[in-house]
Symmetry: C2
Subunit: 130 residues, 2 copies
DNA sequence: TTAATGTTTCGATATTTTCCGATGTGACTA
DNA sequence: TAGTCACATCGGAAAATATCGAAACATTAA
């Protein structure tokens, strides 16, 4: 409360960006690993990584490493301001984000290896071309 | 509700800026004319004008012309999303904004002519220098 | 009309942000 | 030990934004 102006602006900037807001909204419905996010949003992995770096800097996102994977998630409600909670809720209601969430459901059913592991992914693509 | 992503980002960007957020917060406690804002924030008038243009574009601010003065104010609560209401409330609680509000009180007591009219302003400055 | 004044727009520059391929890093695996 | 993989960081060019004085515009007063 009554934090400073610069800090508040930095936090708002962190979510004032199409990709970053989409990523945040996506994580709003549960933890994902970085490659899942990149796959769902169809965006270069380095872009996702940079988006996550900003969201982490702003304190909105946590990470958990597991082997070579990095799982990211929104920090607990109690750790973010009511304002951000509102932004997150509104973002999750966007129609673009609903579409993303449908894709996430499919990706989760397949499991991480099928989505992220290059070899398996390539094999799948091959099969699709037959 | 369930507006589109681009629009939501544009609105967030509009307030993700130190001057624009300060101006918005200042107007949160009542209508002011442009020159009052410039005086209180000690910022070139053209900068204030540009900040207000963005806030108007985002739909956060209304204007009312009266002679050569332009009075600006935050749009009614019912016209802005709960998220912006939250942002406004949080901005108004910032310590920098409290200081601005103290200055606004003084400026309002003096009245617009004493603050804005160049001649009277110059005379006042002269007097201060003895 | 002419001068003065509040406001907006323009112009020009400086700074920041965005974007993505290439490269680097650390961890698993054959 | 190599090779593979997920992820982070770097490089650097293009685009967007910030900033503010100067000029333009609109209204009022002399």
């Amino acid at each position: 409360m009554t934090q400073n102006l610069r800090l508040m602006v930095e936090r708002l900037k962190a979510v004032s960006h199409p990709l970053r807001l989409r990523v945040l909204a996506l994580l709003g419905s549960g933890e994902l690993c970085v490659c899942q996010v990149a796959e769902v949003l169809q965006v270069p992995q380095s872009s996702v990584s940079e988006a996550l770096r900003e969201l982490r800097r702003a304190g909105f996102v946590n990470e958990r490493k597991e082997g070579r994977w990095v799982f990211v998630s929104v920090v607990p409600q109690s750790e973010i301001s009511p304002v951000l909670q509102g932004i997150l809720a509104e973002a999750m209601a966007l129609k673009e984000v609903h579409q993303d969430r449908d894709r996430v459901a499919k990706v989760k059913i397949l499991g991480i290896p099928a989505v992220c592991c290059k070899a398996q992914k390539a094999a799948k693509a091959e099969a699709a071309h037959v």
